[in-house]
Symmetry: C2
């Protein structure tokens, strides 16, 4: 596949037209287009344009409401809830962001509990903007049952990522976004597409037996948590915080069998934001920088988020890298 480049804003605009034409409101198209284009720009391949067919088949199936209007609820001085109305999580976050920011600045900590929402994207775009305003943010989202809990036999948890962002003096924020599964589901799909073999310990086949073949994982098999029982405990925590606490579905609770083509998990998301300036850590971003320098001294060359920022800088110079076929596909969708 040969690669081409497209200006970031041009890609955003193209994706916006794609979403609009396939059943979303203008607000949702605007948010999802920027989100998806950002993932493509930053080299988050499994969450970029790669996801568009999944978005569109889901919208076509009637599983998600692309025109949902999120309802923001002011539950307590530190607690914002958003009912996404069976729409996407990102427009819900956007709708509640202003109130959340007020609460964080006032209280030092606040949370946003999004329920009744679909999250089909990378999680780092949900936290990075908070760190750019000097805040610390933690986001958790559950997904669809595809991970076997520690000691178990059947899939139950989602890939359940945890994303964290912290400001860093004089640099882009420190941001990680990690699936609590041994591998992200999108990466299994990419490995299968490319005919690659996975390392050991990533998944099991339909009989619950360990396999290194990504296709066997996709054909009724399941993923394993990262790091054994510890990753499994963290994945359980994500279920509790992103679903039980928000009022969303657990990863095993929704039934999309009546909606062929549906790909988006219908769950919940929790975002906790802290203002470090309210405590003794008023020089927080300097302290982050001290830690990063110590990590470099200890031999850790690459910091969380570095690869994305490098790709982003390159994209700002040269445009966003995209397969020619994928670009033609997007253009075909709006003609």
């Amino acid at each position: 596949m040969s690669e081409t480049r497209i200006a970031f804003e041009e890609l955003v605009s193209l994706l916006e037209r794609v979403f609009l034409k396939h059943g979303t409101s203008a607000a949702t198209a605007r948010v999802l287009a920027r989100n998806c284009a950002s993932a493509q720009r930053d080299g988050s391949d499994s969450h970029g344009v790669f996801r568009i067919p999944g978005y569109l088949s889901t919208l076509a199936s009637g599983w998600v409401d692309g025109r949902a209007e999120p309802r923001v609820e002011d539950c307590a001085p530190g607690f914002v809830a958003v009912d996404a109305g069976n729409g996407f999580a990102q427009p819900a976050l956007e709708a509640g962001r202003g109130l959340l920011m007020e609460k964080v600045r006032e209280n030092g900590i606040a949370l946003m509990a999004i329920r009744n929402s679909h999250h089909f994207a990378a999680l780092w775009p949900d936290v990075e903007p908070f760190a750019r305003e000097g805040l610390v943010a933690l986001a958790l989202v559950n997904s669809m049952a595809c991970v076997v809990p520690a000691g178990g036999r059947k899939p139950l948890f989602g890939t359940n990522p945890i994303s964290f962002a912290a400001p860093r003096s004089g640099h882009d924020p420190l941001v990680f976004d990690l699936a609590t599964s041994a591998i992200a589901h999108g990466d299994v799909q990419i490995a299968a597409k490319e005919g690659k073999t996975l390392p050991e310990g990533y998944g099991v086949d339909a009989d619950g037996q360990p396999t290194r073949d990504p296709q066997r994982i996709l054909d009724g098999g399941a993923l394993l948590p990262f790091g054994g029982y510890k990753g499994s405990a963290l994945s359980m925590m994500v279920e509790l915080l992103a679903a039980a606490l928000t009022g969303g579905n657990f990863s095993f609770e929704f039934d999309w069998s009546g909606h062929p083509g549906a790909k988006t998990p219908w769950t919940g998301e929790l975002i906790i934001v802290i203002d470090p300036a309210r405590g003794a850590g008023s020089n927080f971003a300097d302290r982050t920088e001290t830690l990063v320098q110590a990590m470099v001294d200890a031999g850790q060359q690459r910091q969380p988020g570095d690869r994305r920022y490098r790709q982003r800088a390159e994209a700002e110079q040269l445009g966003v890298a995209i397969n020619e076929d994928d670009l033609a596909y997007l253009k075909g969708l709006v003609n």
Copy 2:
């Protein structure tokens, strides 16, 4: 070593006298004694009576102030800070708990940032009591540099545990307490004492080479994070939240070389508490129970905290299990 049994409150009282006689205030003795006895009762062997020699040599060295008076600061409607005054973290938590609870009930979420504190105990006792009041709690504490970051060569992070507690209808809370290192430091010490070999991937020797010999890890070697770069990222997050955010020391920042016998990390701790009843998750404890039943159905027989609760129930019947030599040692300390 032959084992005997002692009534829980008798052990608490004995430990209280031990602490009092070795340089702590009455308040600190009371809190640490109950904490240590609880770990012994629940089978958290590496944090029970096993830790007493370390506590006492640290107190004797002048490294920690056993008579420190924690200073509670009301920083914002959702933000309590406590300066432990170079004392232990648990009395600091105790001192700030009332204010934290008020803030959680009022705001839906609040945090306590403890700094200038020593944490030498299990972390689950810090969160379990919140879950018993229907709240969700997350605690993070950094420790002393003994874990090599992903891709690095030198130890930098502490074992940096993450502990989480959630209420569960009709049952003891769901509680986990996991080191972000592949193994807890106390367990390496126990393995070395017992002459055992560790699984692969747990640590490196003084030359940074992988080793399965716990003694080589202790002799200038270091631990590895659990789960590779993901566990390493979580350990970094713990450094940022427990140290940078609180105003405490990073795990690599303190220098105890002038205090021979010092064993306690002089760092910080962050505790985040959420009231799920303020949002849509008003039936949170029922939802936890739904998730636990699904985990059991998926084949996960043992839930986080189960082993502790089983040992606790047994101790309530028969008394707390303790080696006869350890009990004689404790009694000798107060005669």
